[in-house]
């Protein structure tokens, strides 16, 4: 076997091995998407009811509370960026980080200081490489977040919201995560968690100014989508304020939990797609390598034949001249 042919064979073997790996990863990701989606669906009753309750308190009482009332002059905002721990998911983390950068720039242009909180090793690495400060970061659970994880993430954020701005507290809380739209589409979303927005007036306040990427319509929170709905006048026990105090952490936790789960589902979907195209590329490569190997083999055979024919005719010539003598 010629050197060239051997080289092609070797490459085909190596690409085939890679293809097996990417195919396996694709399958694993595909099965995880379903599981992650189911978990998102399982949390939605809780999140919906909680949002309703928050909306009810927000509309049914005129209590001043960081949960529902925007600060007159918001000076500091917290941004929670959700990325993944692992790569091999195409532009998944990069897109989320980009959306985070856009939001940070926008908030800074509005004259607010931005505290960044990061979930996922990819996001942490991005900020560490650029030597930019991160208030707090968490890693290790992005593939399979639990409610307890959401609580750990939410705790410092809630604490920051409740602190006075002068003492380093924040007035706003934004969250960037990747929404799972479908198997094929996952879009980075930005959402303002606090102050929560209800009703038409608040909705305008929650909407971002012009000049922001077209993902904005999605920024409207779940509560604003129900703007037509008139909520009944509730009786609060023990009092509206205390109910709000108790609601605030649960609301933030459940929103973060939902975002983490969606992000996990999106990550798996992105992995699946990336691995699928890797598998397709490997197949393509194998095909062209096989062609090249065939050509090389054929060239070798042709060469051998012409060598044999050439050799035979040389021998025949030699014997013919010998017999003539």
């Amino acid at each position: 076997m010629g050197a060239q042919l051997r080289e092609y064979k070797r490459r085909i073997r190596s690409v085939t091995a890679t293809k097996k790996i990417t195919r396996a990863m694709e399958m694993i990701a595909a099965s995880r998407i379903i599981k992650a989606q189911r978990r998102v669906a399982a949390t939605s009753p809780y999140a919906d009811e909680l949002t309703r309750a928050v909306a009810a308190v927000g509309q049914g009482s005129d209590v001043k509370h960081p949960l529902t009332t925007a600060a007159e002059r918001p000076r500091r905002a917290a941004v929670l960026l959700i990325t993944s721990d692992r790569g091999l998911a195409g532009g998944y983390s990069a897109n989320a980080i980009k959306a985070g950068e856009a939001l940070t720039a926008q908030l800074e242009a509005e004259g607010k200081e931005v505290d960044t909180y990061v979930v996922g090793r990819k996001g942490v690495a991005y900020y560490a490489f650029r030597e930019r400060p991160v208030s707090e970061s968490w890693t290790g659970f992005t593939d399979n977040p639990t409610y307890a994880d959401a609580k750990t993430v939410a705790a410092p954020l809630i604490e920051a919201v409740q602190r006075e701005t002068e003492e380093g507290g924040v007035d706003e809380l934004h969250i960037i995560y990747t929404e799972f739209v479908s198997m094929m589409t996952q879009t980075p979303r930005r959402r303002r968690l606090l102050p929560a927005s209800f009703g038409a007036e608040a909705e305008q306040a929650a909407e971002s100014p012009v000049g922001v990427p077209p993902q904005d319509p999605a920024e409207a929170t779940d509560t604003t989508r129900r703007r037509g709905e008139v909520l009944p006048l509730y009786e609060f026990e023990p009092s509206a304020e205390q109910v709000l105090d108790a609601l605030l952490p649960r609301y933030v936790e459940s929103r973060i939990y939902n975002a983490l789960l969606q992000a996990a589902a999106s990550k798996h979907a992105a992995t699946r797609r990336a691995m699928k195209s890797a598998t397709d590329n490997a197949e393509e490569l194998i095909r062209s390598l096989t062609r090249a190997a065939n050509t090389a083999r054929q060239a070798e055979i042709t060469q051998e034949i012409s060598e044999i024919v050439g050799g035979a005719s040389a021998l025949a010539d030699a014997s013919a001249t010998g017999s003539e003598r």
Binding site: Y46, Y147, L231, P238
Partner: protein, 127 residues
């Protein structure tokens, strides 16, 4: 008799839903019983057993659930109980809860002790 629709949801799943004639829960201001036609209410629950007297489609009976904090909201014949952790009394492993209680007492872990205690009380109420 009128019925109220109950949705009992934990953070990660829907624990129980169905029709009921009376729901007794413990709020921060004391125990409260909710029957159909109650005024819209939003209350903070305390850890404890929630007793649901089922009726209508769900059949006559009692469902007891151990809840660990949360909220209840009632409007228009629909009662939502939101809680981070909820366990139906049938799901509670009494022996394990007892062990957990002892351990919590030994370690002076007030939270764990309360959780185990709530479980045991819910299991006892169901019997």
């Amino acid at each position: 008799m009128a019925e109220l629709h109950v949705e009992l949801v934990a953070a990660d799943r829907r624990v129980w839903s169905g029709e009921a004639s009376l729901v007794v829960a413990r709020t921060t201001a004391g125990d409260i019983g909710i029957m159909p036609g109650h005024q819209p209410l939003l209350a903070v629950m305390q850890s404890g057993a929630v007793i649901i007297r089922t009726a209508g489609e769900s059949g006559q009976g009692t469902v007891v659930v151990a809840v660990h904090g949360g909220f209840l909201s009632y409007t228009d014949g629909k009662l939502s109980l939101l809680t981070e952790i909820a366990e139906l009394s049938d799901e509670i492993d009494v022996e394990r809860a007892e062990r957990a209680l002892e351990q919590a007492r030994a370690e002076a872990d007030a939270d764990a002790e309360r959780r185990a205690d709530v479980r045991l009380r819910a299991a006892a109420a169901a019997r």
